[in-house]
């Protein structure tokens, strides 16, 4: 068995089939719809406050991100080495985003609130 044949055999055995892919697509669409509803619930309908809407949108966005990476990019079924190669820089990127946001947005506001 050649390398490519083995890889094909591996993929056929371990990856989801078209039906599961369509189901995942439906779930992703539903999550997007809820995200958009959360936006309008705060913007137009006044049901949610800004913080709650942001939390709902952020959680759903993270869930969509993880679903695509796990099922469409097959990280759930592939070697853990691929997971490690992806997770490390992704975590670093999240750390950079968080640090920049805190330094540039949160701390100046906290400083001016303390000053006044």
């Amino acid at each position: 068995m050649s390398s490519e044949q083995r890889e094909i055999a591996h993929d056929r055995h371990s990856h989801p089939g078209p039906k599961q892919y369509v189901m995942i697509g439906v779930i992703l669409t539903l999550m997007t719809v809820v995200e958009i509803l959360a936006y309008y619930a705060e913007e137009d309908w006044g049901i949610l406050n800004a913080g709650m809407a942001a939390a709902v949108i952020a959680i759903l966005s993270a869930a969509k991100f993880i679903t695509v990476v796990m099922y469409y990019m097959h990280l759930k079924f592939d070697s853990k080495i691929f997971t490690g190669i992806f997770i490390f820089p992704a975590a670093l990127a999240i750390l950079v985003i968080g640090a920049m946001y805190i330094v540039q947005q949160v701390l100046p506001r906290a400083g001016s609130a303390l000053g006044s």
Partner: protein, 213 residues
């Protein structure tokens, strides 16, 4: 490695003839995706760092500039929701294309590869319309910090979508020429990794730039 281990290794379809037992191309591509995470991470961090620091409008959502002027919101949420749905469906098309190639379904592979590339083009059409609308509403790269960081972030993403469309179109042409059988499914899987990565980056951009105020 002993003879018994070597035989086990060879019999296991999950292992390849590489030192890690994994496909080198796939390993290299995941490394590339890791580097892309850092690129987009820095662009998103820059956008968030300068959020709400514009001295003049237009702003993403209606509100006041740093100098206290009232400015209108420029983002069109219904339009971008539609383009987000299009990109999400293109990801579904991509996995269906891969499944078709793996089961030697040439017609299915051609259909889904071109459908995915087509949906990518529709997304780019939405983005071109949005950029043109913003330009005519007075928002350019030089207008304010929002314009600079927004166009840089979404422009880089759009460039990645364009590369993906060309990539998928090339694979589609190979399928038309009957040169994309199951033995080359790894090429489609790697193209899929790129396309899904472009999709997950948009998931983050849509939430952080468009929906969260």
């Amino acid at each position: 490695m002993s003879i018994v281990n070597a035989a086990d290794h060879a019999a296991n379809p999950a292992h390849l003839d590489t030192s890690t037992g994994l496909d080198n191309r796939k390993m290299a591509f995941w490394t590339f995706i890791g580097s892309e995470c850092l690129l987009f991470g820095s662009l998103i961090a820059t956008y968030l760092a300068y959020k709400g620091r514009s001295l003049v409008g237009p702003l993403p959502h209606a509100g006041r500039t740093l100098t206290g002027q009232q400015a209108e919101g420029i983002l069109d949420i219904p339009l971008t929701s539609l383009s987000t749905f299009v990109l999400l469906m293109s990801s579904l098309g991509m996995v269906l294309a891969l499944a078709a190639v793996q089961r030697a379904d040439r017609k299915g592979a051609i259909t889904w590869l071109f459908a995915t590339a087509g949906l990518g083009l529709v997304f780019l059409g939405f983005q071109a319309y949005e950029f043109n609308h913003f330009y005519h509403a007075g928002l350019t790269l030089q207008t304010n910090l929002f314009g600079s960081t927004f166009f840089l972030l979404t422009g880089f993403h759009g460039a990645h979508v364009l590369v993906g469309v060309i990539y998928l179109g090339t694979l589609g042409m190979l399928a038309v020429k009957n040169q994309l059988g199951p033995e080359r499914s790894m090429s489609v899987e790697i193209a899929g990794l790129y396309w899904h990565f472009v999709d997950v980056i948009w998931i983050v951009i849509f939430a952080l730039v468009y929906l969260i105020k």
